[in-house]
Amino acid sequence: MSKIKLKVQQEAISHASKGSMLRPFKALAFLGRKPVTEALQARIAADIYRGFHLNDWDKCIGCSTCHTICDNAAIQMVYIPDLPSDLLAGKKPFRPAIDYGRCCWCGLCVDICPTGSLALSKEYIHTCTEDHIDSYFILPDPKGMHKQPFEKGWEKSDQTDLLLHHRQTMQQLPALERIQNFDEIVQGFTDQAAFEEASRCIQCGFCHDACPAQMHAPEYIRAIWEHNFEQAVTQIYRTNPFPNVCGRVCTHRCESACAMQVRGEAIAIRWLKRYAIDKVPHARVKALVSQSEISKPDNNLSVAIIGAGPAGLTAAFDLVQQGHKVKVFEAADKAGGMMRYGIPEYRLPADKLDEDIAIITSMGVEIVCNTIVGKDVSMEDIVTEYDAVLLATGLQQGRSSRIPGSNHKNVYSAIELLAKIKRQEDFIIPHKAVIIGGGNVAMDIARSLARLQQQYYANINIIVTTLETKDAMLADDSEKREALEEGIVLENSRGPLECMVCDDETLEGLKTVACLTVFDKEGRFHPQYDYTDEVIYSADMVVEAIGQNTVLAFLGDTITEQLEWQQGKIKVDNEGHTALEWLWSVGDMVKGSDVIHAIAKGHQVAKSIDTYLQNIKVFS
C-alpha cells in the first residue's frame, strides 16, 4: 500500500490549549457566502435508490416469492380474475400488493424476484391524510405509485441476485459408454448435489399446480433439503405410488412451470424425487407406506381392475387404502403395463418398477397376471363377482400409418418392438432402420435399436424421420440430444409416402417427401407435402412410432352396446365414469399418454369409485 499524504495537514489541537476568543470570528466570513440549502423542489434520487415499488405485470408470474421473503409481511398477493392464468406454463393471476405501513425498503423482494419483474423506483415522496390512508396499500404496476414518470432505481442485477440459477449437474453415462448396453444412463444425484439442488427451491408451489397428479413437490423438496428423506417419501406417496418410475421417466410438467426457469434453470424436481426414493431402503419405504392410515375397516365390497398399468395400479392403491378389496387382472406375464414393456431398460430398470409394484401389492392389492379378460376369465363373471369394474387396459396396439407397404413383415409398430426387446424375444436386428415419428416412443425405439446394433454389428445406422421440424418435435429435448449423441440421424420435415418393397418381398427403404406444414389453420392434423422433394431412405426395417390404439373387444357385445362411444373411445365423464353405473374407464386409453397423467386419472377414478361404493353401503 502506497502511502497517501493527507492533503491538508491535520491541525494539532492540544488539550492544554486555552483556545482563542478571536478565531471563532473567522466563521463570520460565512455571512457573505452562499447558503448550502437545497432548492425546495425535491431532488432526483440516486441511480440505485430504493423508492416505491414498480412491478412489470407482463413479467410477473404471481409466484409470491416476494411475499415469502418479506420480513414485515408487507407484501400480500392479490388474485386478479382478469389476468391470464396458465398453470402449465407457470403463470398465475396473482400480483403482489404492498403495504407501506409495513415496508422497510430493504429491497429483498427485488433481489429475490425470480422473474425480475419487481423493481424500486426513484420516487420517494408520498403523503396522505387520515382519510386517504388506503393509499398506503398499493398494487405496484410499471407506471409507478402516482403515475409519475420516475425512473427505475434499485433493480435486480447479477450481483444482487439472491437466487441460485444453475442446476446441479447430473451424473450421466457418456454416449460411447451407454450405447454399449442397456444400463441406466442417469446415475442419480450425489448427496451434496441433491442437497444443493433442493436448496434452490423457493417453495412457490407452481410445480404442485402444474403436476397432473398435484404432487406435493415443494414439501418433499424441502424435506430433502432438511435431510428428512422418510418425510420426503411420505410426501411423495401422498399422491404417487410410482416414485421410482416417476423419478426416472416422468415428463415433469412441474419443471416447465417452475418459477426458477424464468431466469435460470428449473429445479430438477424429477431427479430429486428419484434421489429421495433411492435414499430410503425399500423395506423402510414399505413400512412408511403401510403406516398411512387406512380409512375404513374392510368390508365386503370389491373392485376389479382390468389392466395393471399405472392408472389401474394407482386406482388399486387408492381403493385399497380406502378399505376396499381390489383385484387386478393383467394379460401380460408381469404387472406394469406400458411402464414395463414400453419404456426401455436404460431409462427405467425393471427392478425399480418391481419395487414400486411390490409396495402396491404389499398394501393388499391382488394382481393376477397372464389372465386375459374374455379368454381366461369372462367379462360376465367379473361383472357378477365384483361391485365395480375399472377398465385400465391402456393403448396396447401401435397405430399404423397405412401407407403402401406398411403391412410388410419388417414394418413394425414401435410399441410391439419395444415389448419384444424388453421381453428379450428373438427378432432380426436390422442393419439399417428407419423410424417414422418424432415422439418419445420414436426416440425410445431408435435408441434401443441403436444399442442392439452396437452390440451385434458394432455399427449404428438408424434414421428417424419426423413430420415436424426439429424444434417442434414432440420428443423431449434431452431425448433428442442424447439420441443425436448416440449417433442416430434425425431427418426432420419428412412425410412418409411409401415403404418400398422389392420384388423379392424384402424391404428396400422408406420413400419420403418434404413436409411443409403439419397442422392446418384450425390446428387440426393435416400435413401438406411438397411432392417434388422426394428422398428414399434405404432400410431393412421400418418402425412406425406414430401413436397407439386401444383394443376393447373383450368387453363383449352386450356391454359394448350399453356403453356410449365417442370417436372410437368409450365416453366417460370427468371422473372416468361410463354410462354404466358400475363401470369406469381410465388411463392412457382415455386421455394423455404418460405415466403421471395415468396416475392422476387413477386417483380421480378411485375417488369416484369410492364414492359409489360408499353409497352402496348406505343402501345395503
Partner: protein
C-alpha cells in the same frame, strides 16, 4: 393526577427536588430519560431510565430468517448503522465458514469509515448544541448529509443502507463514485479547519468542556468504557487494531488518544479520529481503484432455504461509539436461535453516565451525555 414530566415544585427541608431529563427534553440524546435529584444547581443523584426505544430486537431476530435480519440489524443504532450490519454479517460468516471476497472487505471498510465520519460529525454537532452553539451543529449535520448522499449513491439508501450481507456486499462501487467520494473528502478536510476555528479552538467551549465529566483510566477500565471514550483516557485500545477484522490489518492508521479523560478530550479524540478515517478512506479508494475484481459476494445459499450450522460466535466491531459485539447462537436452523447485542452505549448511557453526572452541575448533564456519545437505541434494543 399528574404527568411524570410535570411535577410541581415542592419545597422540602433539604431543598432537593427531582428533575426529569427527558424523554422529551432537548438535552437528551434520543428518546431517553435521566432522572436527576438536584440541590440548587448541584446534582445529588442520577438515575437513567431507558426502554423508550425498546422494540425487542433480540426477540424479533429469533423470529426471522437469517437473510431477513439484515434489514433489522441496522436499526439498532440509528446514527451509525453500518457497524451493526457488519457485526451481524461477520458473525454469520464465521458460523457458515464463508470466504468473503477481498474486494467486498474493502468495500465494507469504506462503508464503515464513512459511517464513522458521519457519526462523528453528528456527535460534534450534538455536543455543540448542548452548550448552545448551534452553528456548529448546523454545519456538522449539513456536512454529514453530503456523506449520506454518497451512501445513497452507493447503497440506495440514505440512512439504512442494508448493504452488507453475510458473504459480501450487495452492490459494487464504480470508479466514478470513488472519485466523488475522494472529492468529498477533500472538501471535508477543508471544512475541518473551519470547525477548528469555530469550535475546537473556541475559548468558551474549551472552558466549558475541560474538566467536565472526568474519567480516570482506572475508572474507565473497570466501568467497561470502550471506544473514543476510553481512548480519551490515554488508553490506545481499538478493536480495529486489537481484534482486527476485515482488512484493517492491511491499513495504516493511528489510534487517536488524549489523556485528560474529560468531555474536551473525548471530543478531541473524535476530531482526530475523523481525520484518521479520512486517511483510511483514501487508502481504501486507492485500493479499490487498482483492484479490477468484480467479485463482491461469495456464493450464499438460497435465502429461503438457508440453515446456518449450529454453533456460537462472538464478533466485535469498533463502532463510532465503542466496542459493538454480537453474540450469535445457531441451533442449525433457518433462524438465529439467539442474538445478543452488546451496544457500546449500554455501558456509557447507563452506569457511566449516572456516575459521571452525579456530583456535577445541572449545566453539564447534557454535555456529558453527548460527549459520551451515548446512543439510547443501542441500550434499549
Amino acid at each position: 393526577m399528574r404527568a411524570e414530566n410535570y411535577q410541581a415544585v415542592t419545597h422540602p427541608e433539604s431543598h432537593e427536588f427531582e428533575l426529569n431529563f427527558g424523554p422529551n427534553h432537548p438535552g437528551i440524546e434520543g428518546n431517553y430519560a435521566l432522572k436527576v435529584r438536584v440541590n440548587g444547581d448541584k446534582i445529588v443523584a442520577a438515575k437513567a431510565d431507558g426502554g423508550y426505544l425498546h422494540r425487542g430486537f433480540e426477540k424479533l431476530m429469533e423470529g426471522r430468517l437469517w437473510i431477513q435480519n439484515i434489514a433489522l440489524v441496522p436499526r439498532i443504532c440509528v446514527p451509525d448503522p453500518v457497524p451493526m450490519e457488519m457485526c451481524y454479517a461477520l458473525g454469520v460468516e464465521d458460523l457458515c465458514q464463508f470466504e468473503v471476497p477481498e474486494r467486498a472487505n474493502w468495500l465494507r471498510v469504506l462503508q464503515l469509515e464513512l459511517s464513522r465520519i458521519a457519526a462523528h460529525l453528528f456527535t460534534f454537532g450534538g455536543h455543540a448544541a448542548t452548550v448552545g452553539m448551534y452553528s456548529n451543529m448546523f454545519w456538522g449535520i449539513a456536512d454529514r448529509d453530503l456523506i449520506l448522499d454518497m451512501f445513497e449513491q452507493m447503497t440506495g439508501g440514505r440512512v439504512y443502507h442494508m448493504y452488507t450481507i453475510p458473504g459480501g456486499v450487495r452492490r459494487d462501487v464504480g470508479v466514478e463514485q470513488l472519485d466523488k467520494i475522494s472529492d468529498l473528502l477533500d472538501y471535508l478536510e477543508k471544512r475541518l479547519s473551519d470547525y477548528d476555528n469555530l469550535f475546537f479552538n473556541n475559548k468558551i467551549f474549551i472552558q466549558r468542556a475541560r474538566d467536565t465529566g472526568i474519567l480516570t483510566p482506572k475508572q474507565a477500565l473497570s466501568w467497561g468504557v470502550t471506544g473514543p471514550n476510553l481512548r480519551a483516557c490515554g488508553l490506545a485500545f481499538d478493536v480495529r487494531r486489537d481484534d482486527a477484522y476485515l482488512c484493517y490489518d492491511q491499513i495504516d492508521f493511528d489510534i487517536a488518544t488524549e489523556t485528560a479523560g474529560d468531555a474536551l478530550a473525548r471530543n478531541l479524540v473524535r476530531r482526530k479520529e475523523l481525520a484518521q478515517s479520512i486517511y483510511i478512506v483514501r487508502q481504501v479508494i486507492d485500493y479499490l481503484k487498482k483492484d479490477k475484481s468484480t467479485h463482491i459476494r461469495c456464493q450464499i445459499p438460497n435465502p429461503l432455504a438457508w440453515k446456518v450450522p449450529a454453533g456460537e460466535t462472538y464478533t466485535r466491531v469498533e463502532s463510532s461509539k465503542g466496542e459493538l459485539s454480537f453474540y450469535i447462537v445457531s441451533n442449525g436452523g433457518e433462524k438465529p436461535y439467539r442474538v445478543h447485542v452488546r451496544g457500546p452505549s449500554s455501558m456509557h448511557a447507563v452506569q457511566v453516565l449516572e456516575k459521571l453526572v452525579t456530583g456535577g452541575r445541572l449545566e453539564d448533564v447534557a454535555q456529558i451525555m453527548f460527549s459520551l456519545d451515548a446512543c439510547p437505541p443501542e441500550v434499549d434494543r
